[in-house]
Symmetry: C2
Subunit: 142 residues, 2 copies
DNA sequence: TCTATTTGTTAGATAAGTATAACAAATTAA
DNA sequence: TTAATTTGTTATACTTATCTAACAAATAGA
């Protein structure tokens, strides 16, 4: 399976997964609304993702993820969540920018970096007597 | 000044700056070699950057940065350096992947995140008795 | 100097992602 | 149950970034 999705296609897949979780059903229109693109663009993207076996989409029907698509979406989501956690909880960036950044970086971060960042956050959250948490807290007002 | 460069154009600009620092003169060919693209692609990119007033390039002559171009390149470079430092020195990722990741993330990181990450690294590097450095060192083998 | 090689340029061609516009299907409301 | 509105589809076109191929200029070697 030669996946290798473009950031754009990853975004579409992620959005489908999000809407599915949210509403159970996924409509072309809603994907477009979330991504700020026209329905025709969504259709084009869905065709691409269908060919790769990541989504199911019959003419005039709701969109759905395949199992493969679900797996990939889940993977992207986990990068997203981790980055958002790092940006908000560690770096203490609390405006929209943390979300914006997470949405961009998630598409270009290697698995290795995902792994190390996961461990780093975990490392900061453990530690005897919570000393690490204490100095993290002190960083917030740095 | 409506800048807003694409990641691709940022890469070209960055490469011109790098070659300039390295060799003083910048040739079309060398830009292509570094970015793994053909000279014709470099030419197209230089035309775009020229129109934006970021590089100077006369037919068959060497390429150079304008002052504006220099400023932007410098800004990108500082993001690159910071990210590389974080990935290698903090997360302890020492293979090519840290460089790869830095080269991608530098184009999508907000100024706010740059600022906070800068402060975070600085925070980790200071601290009474170097306790934070000690913790960091212990993380390396986590 | 004069040829050979390298470097630079230009004109198409291609691929990804987007938009507009015309139309078709489905849904909602009257 | 029609008519109006929303939603989905398709064809076509544009933009960005890339390539190949043909050619032009510059540089290096004999």
């Amino acid at each position: 399976m030669e996946k290798e999705l473009s950031p754009t296609m990853e975004d579409y897949l992620e959005t489908v997964a999000l809407l599915k979780k949210q509403n159970n059903i996924v409509r072309v229109r809603d994907i477009g609304r979330l991504l700020n693109v026209k329905s025709s663009s969504v259709n084009a993207a869905l065709k691409t993702l269908s060919k790769k076996g990541l989504v199911k989409h019959e003419r005039y029907e709701y969109v759905d993820l395949t199992l493969d698509g679900e797996k990939i979406a889940c993977n992207i989501q986990s990068k997203h969540d981790l980055l958002l956690k790092f940006l908000t909880e560690i770096l203490n960036i609390n405006d929209d920018e943390s979300l914006q950044d997470a949405c961009k970086i998630e598409h270009v971060m290697s698995p290795k970096t995902l792994d190390r960042l996961t461990k780093f956050i975990q490392f900061l959250e453990t530690g005897i007597d919570g000393e690490r948490q204490k100095w993290l807290k002190s960083f917030k007002y740095y």
